[in-house]
Structure formats: structure tokens, C-alpha cells
């Protein structure tokens, strides 16, 4: 028995060691963002001094603030539109039987499997010929593809789990099907709705390739592009670049851990076999 305890403790210790090693590059970004540049140059692992000057620095740059606003705008719109489009679609796929339903479900899921690189060229050409290059509209619409399919499939799973009888009881009392959905089903799946909206926001917030391909002018750049401009080869500070990285990475981390259970459940339910 004592032997088993000892093995458990040893395995826990090994787990902690491996996780710290694997997460070291991420921890390093966060730590570097609060160290003065002179301290970074020493390459020591332990910070000798803590400072928030890098954050003050990036938050005083107008191009970074513009990018912050643009990212919030695009991310917020993407989250809202994803929910507004995914919710009715999920409800339709879950509650109705009609010709072509399975094909439609498959079409939506298949777009999730399509990598951005695969449609980059036509999207760039189409966006340019529509005169939408360098607009946040183009970025918002293309970012819908990032989270919409998984949102539809996750919400469908949650709606499937709400018993129909609840809606039918409400319809007996005279409400329409849509009325029953809004009054009965919607409140029950609210946590899932918040989770998919958040997920869509986070995916848009960190997206790089489409932004790089569609945006060139400073006033419509998003944060990942602004981070690149912080990286000025002639005069830049690693501390400032890392602080910019924290601004981009922190919301993703925070929101992910708030909704971890819904998202992990959704990923496994979304057709990827565990």
C-alpha cells in the first residue's frame, strides 16, 4: 500500500514537471511581458524586476489602440452573427424533418474541415473585385466560417437534449413553434449559446492569415497584424512584443477556461471521434 502511495506521488511530480516544461514557452511570454528590457538581456530565468511599462507603452500607441478597437469590433460582430445564424439553423436541424436535411447538416459540418489556406486565393480575388479589400466587413464575413459550423453542431446537440414535450406543452397553451423555442428551449441552452459566441469571438480575435491577406492599411488592421508592426527590425523591444502577445493571448486563455467543459464536450460531439 505504501509502495502505491509512493508511486502516485512520483507520477504526480512527473506530471507537474512535464506540464511546466511543455507550457514553458507560454509562461515565458507572460513573464517577459512584465520584465524590463535590461533584465531580459541577462537571460536569467528568474525576473529581477517587475514592470508594467511594456503594457503602458503599447497602450499609448495609436496604431495598437486602433487595432484593439478593430479586433473588438470584428470579434464582437462575428460572435453575434454566429449565434444569430447558428441558433435557428441548429433548431431547424434538430426539430424538423425535411428533404435534404442530412445533406444540409453535412454541408455545414464539411465547411469546418476546410482549412483557410484552401479557399484563400478565391476569397482574396472575390473580395477585391467586390471592392471590399481593406474593410472590416470582408474580414467579419470571412471570419464567420471559423466558428459557425461547430456552433451549429454544438447547439444542435444541446437542443436535441431538451425534451420536445416541454415545447409541446407550451404549444398546447397556444404559442407557436417559434414562440415555444424562444420561451422554453432558449433559456435552457443559454450557457451553450454564450459558449459558442465566445468561441467564435476568440477564433476571430487571434486569426492571422485572412487578416494578412485582406487588410493592408493601418486604420483597419486587427491585433495580430498590429503585433507584426510592433516587431520593427530597427528599434523594437522584446518586452513590448511579448506584452502585445499577452493582450492577444490572454482573452483566449481566459475565455477558454471559463467555458472549457462546453467546448471540449462540443468538440468531441462535433464528429471527431475520441
Amino acid at each position: 500500500m505504501n509502495d502505491k502511495r509512493l508511486i502516485d506521488v512520483a507520477l504526480d511530480a512527473l506530471t507537474i514537471l512535464l506540464v511546466v516544461l511543455l507550457l514553458a514557452p507560454i509562461i515565458w511570454v507572460f513573464v517577459a511581458s512584465i520584465r524590463p528590457d535590461a533584465d531580459l538581456m541577462t537571460r536569467s530565468l528568474i525576473p529581477a524586476q517587475v514592470t508594467f511599462e511594456h503594457f503602458a507603452d503599447i497602450l499609448s500607441r495609436s496604431d495598437f489602440l486602433i487595432a484593439l478597437r478593430n479586433s473588438l469590433l470584428v470579434g464582437g460582430s462575428v460572435a453575434l452573427l454566429t449565434v444569430l445564424i447558428a441558433l435557428p439553423a441548429a433548431y431547424s436541424l434538430s426539430r424538423f424533418t425535411y428533404r435534404g436535411r442530412d445533406a444540409i447538416g453535412f454541408l455545414i459540418l464539411a465547411t469546418q474541415m476546410l482549412p483557410a489556406v484552401a479557399v484563400l486565393v478565391p476569397i482574396v480575388v472575390i473580395v477585391r473585385s467586390l471592392g471590399l479589400a481593406n474593410t472590416l466587413t470582408a474580414l467579419t464575413v470571412t471570419h464567420l466560417a471559423l466558428g459557425l459550423p461547430i456552433a451549429v453542431w454544438m447547439l444542435k446537440g444541446y437542443i436535441d437534449a431538451v425534451p420536445r414535450e416541454l415545447e409541446e406543452a407550451s404549444m398546447m397553451e397556444g404559442s407557436t413553434q417559434l414562440g415555444a423555442m424562444v420561451r422554453i428551449t432558449l433559456p435552457l441552452i443559454r450557457p451553450a449559446i454564450v459558449a459558442v459566441g465566445t468561441f467564435a469571438f476568440v477564433l476571430s480575435w487571434g486569426e492571422f492569415l485572412l487578416a494578412l491577406a485582406l487588410i493592408t492599411s493601418t486604420d483597419v488592421k486587427t491585433l495580430p497584424l498590429a503585433l507584426q508592426t510592433l516587431f520593427d527590425p530597427y528599434s523594437f523591444s522584446w518586452g513590448v512584443v511579448m506584452a502585445g502577445g499577452v493582450v492577444i493571448g490572454a482573452p483566449a486563455v481566459l475565455l477558454f477556461f471559463l467555458f472549457r467543459n462546453q467546448l471540449v464536450g462540443g468538440l468531441t460531439a462535433g464528429g471527431i471521434k475520441g
Partner: protein, 298 residues
């Protein structure tokens, strides 16, 4: 007529119309962002369109495809992408398998660790790319100092070394994708009943024997299927090698995604880039068919 809660016939034509109306915005987005661009890319790949010569595309037949076959830089990018894809998946499996075995225990630390380990997967590429560049920087990089002490790197960063850059970025790519494999393997491991191990232990099988005869066959499918999914993602990579080295030094990290991007934005040949993406898609379709075949077999 009783109404079962799983499947039932539509009650009225009005219901049918409502069902289509509710799903149509999502279908419109899928058509606009996936189907239409794919068809347009196919059409574009048969055009002759070099922006410096003709501002509008003209019909070029198989011109792009024959140019593509003769493009030696593209061929080396293709082989590099194969190495990149297989390497990324190999790193993912090599990191994820021991980790999943270690995390498949019922302790508070194992549970916390299996949540934390997802961080590389959720962090945006741009943050991780610059984080690793910082670690490997020849002047301030902590990891560079270690590599230098080990004799792997000399005074300049490994990212500037044409022989090492690809391998280093493949490792980072695998590290980023590893959490997804851990998640899948943990689910597979947890579904193996303890009785199997107990029965084998009674029969006198040792740890290694139990791993080889019970664990390996039961997680094999997960490794293959998730490996294929991650392989497709790796095949279509762009962000990491672009952020870290822009495809350099000397094309050492130029994979197909980067070749395609440069064909549009540097060489101004969108139709040629479209042809590359059509060929990549054919390869993806081949991989996806293999995946479906394998899924059907279990």
C-alpha cells in the same frame, strides 16, 4: 397518432417552409465562404492571369497545370510539405502518447494538468510564433543559450540555419497540435475497461505486456484517425512558418501554403495560385477518402 420525440413527420407545409427558412442563413454562409470560392478557384485555375501582363483573366486551359508540373521550386515545396506533415504528426504522437498515459489517472493533479495542457492548442499562432522567436533569439533567447551550450547552435539563431530551421519549426508545429491528440487519447484510454487489465494481470502479464496487448490495439484507431485529421491541418499550414521565418532561410521552410501565398502577393499570379490550391485540394480529398474508409472499417 402518437408523436415520438425522436423523429416525426412534418405537421404542415408551413412547418416545412419554416424549417428551410431557419436553416437558410447558415447554408448561405456555407455557400458563400466554402462552396462558391472552391468553384471559383477551379474556374480560376484554368485561366491565364499574370497581373503584370493582363489585368483581366483570359482562358488558358491546362497552362497553369503544366507550368506547375515543371516548377522545380514548387516540387521541392511539395516534398518539404510532406516532410512537414509527417514530421508534425510524428511529434504530436510522440509527445501526446506518454502524456496521455501519464494523465490517465484519477488524481487532482492529473485532472488539472489535462486542462492546462490544452493551452498551446488555444493560443493564437501569432502569440506562440513570436514567443518561440523570442526563446530562440540569438541575443536574448534563453533556449538559444541552451542550444549554444549543447553545441547545436552557433552564434546565430537556429532559425537562421537552413539545415535546422525546418526541423525546429516542425517540432513547434507538433507541440502546438499535441493537445488535441492528448484529448482524443485520454478519451480512448478512459473507455478501456479496467477488467481487461485485471484479467491480464491475473494471467501474469507484466506492465509492458499489458500495454502492448491491450492498450495499443484499443487506441490504434484513435491514433490513426486523429493523426489523419491533424495531418490534413498540417498539410495546410501557413501561419507558423510565415510568422517565424517567412519561409526562409533560403526557402528552407517554404511549404505549399507559403508558396501559394507568395504566388498571389509577390508574383501576382492568382490563377497559378488557384491551380496550386486545386491540386492541394485533390490531395486532401484523397486523404479524406482514406479517412472515411478507415472509419467504415471499425
Amino acid at each position: 397518432m402518437s408523436l415520438s420525440s425522436a423523429e416525426r413527420a412534418p405537421r404542415s407545409p408551413g412547418d416545412q417552409a419554416l424549417a428551410y427558412a431557419l436553416v437558410s442563413p447558415a447554408v448561405a454562409v456555407a455557400l458563400a465562404i466554402a462552396v462558391l470560392p472552391l468553384l471559383y478557384a477551379l474556374w480560376l485555375s484554368f485561366q491565364d492571369w499574370y497581373l503584370l501582363r493582363n489585368p483581366q483573366p483570359i482562358w488558358g486551359g491546362f497552362k497553369n497545370f503544366s507550368a506547375l508540373l515543371a516548377d522545380s521550386a514548387l516540387w521541392s515545396a511539395f516534398w518539404r510539405t510532406c516532410v512537414w506533415t509527417l514530421g508534425t504528426v510524428a511529434v504530436e504522437i510522440a509527445l501526446a502518447l506518454p502524456l496521455a498515459l501519464l494523465l490517465n489517472r484519477d488524481s487532482a493533479i492529473a485532472r488539472a494538468a489535462s486542462a492546462l495542457i490544452l493551452l498551446p492548442w488555444v493560443m493564437p499562432f501569432i502569440v506562440l510564433g513570436y514567443g518561440w522567436r523570442f526563446l530562440l533569439d540569438s541575443e536574448v533567447g534563453a533556449l538559444h543559450a541552451v542550444l549554444q551550450a549543447l553545441g547545436v547552435a552557433d552564434t546565430s539563431s537556429v532559425l537562421n540555419d537552413p539545415n535546422l530551421a525546418l526541423g525546429v519549426i516542425i517540432f513547434i508545429s507538433g507541440w502546438k497540435g499535441m493537445p488535441f491528440m492528448v484529448l482524443a487519447l485520454l478519451a480512448a484510454l478512459k473507455s478501456i475497461p479496467d477488467e481487461l487489465y485485471e484479467a491480464a494481470a491475473i494471467d501474469g502479464a507484466g506492465h509492458w505486456q499489458r500495454f502492448v496487448t491491450i492498450t495499443v490495439p484499443l487506441i490504434q484507431n484513435t491514433v490513426v484517425i486523429i493523426g489523419l485529421v491533424l495531418g490534413i491541418l498540417a498539410f495546410y499550414s501557413f501561419d507558423l512558418p510565415w510568422i517565424m521565418t517567412r519561409g526562409g532561410p533560403q526557402d528552407a521552410t517554404t511549404i505549399l501554403g507559403i508558396t501559394m501565398f507568395k504566388a498571389v502577393f509577390t508574383d501576382l499570379r492568382p490563377a497559378y495560385a488557384a491551380a496550386i490550391s486545386v491540386v492541394m485540394l485533390l490531395i486532401l480529398a484523397g486523404a479524406a477518402l482514406t479517412l472515411l474508409q478507415l472509419r467504415r472499417r471499425d
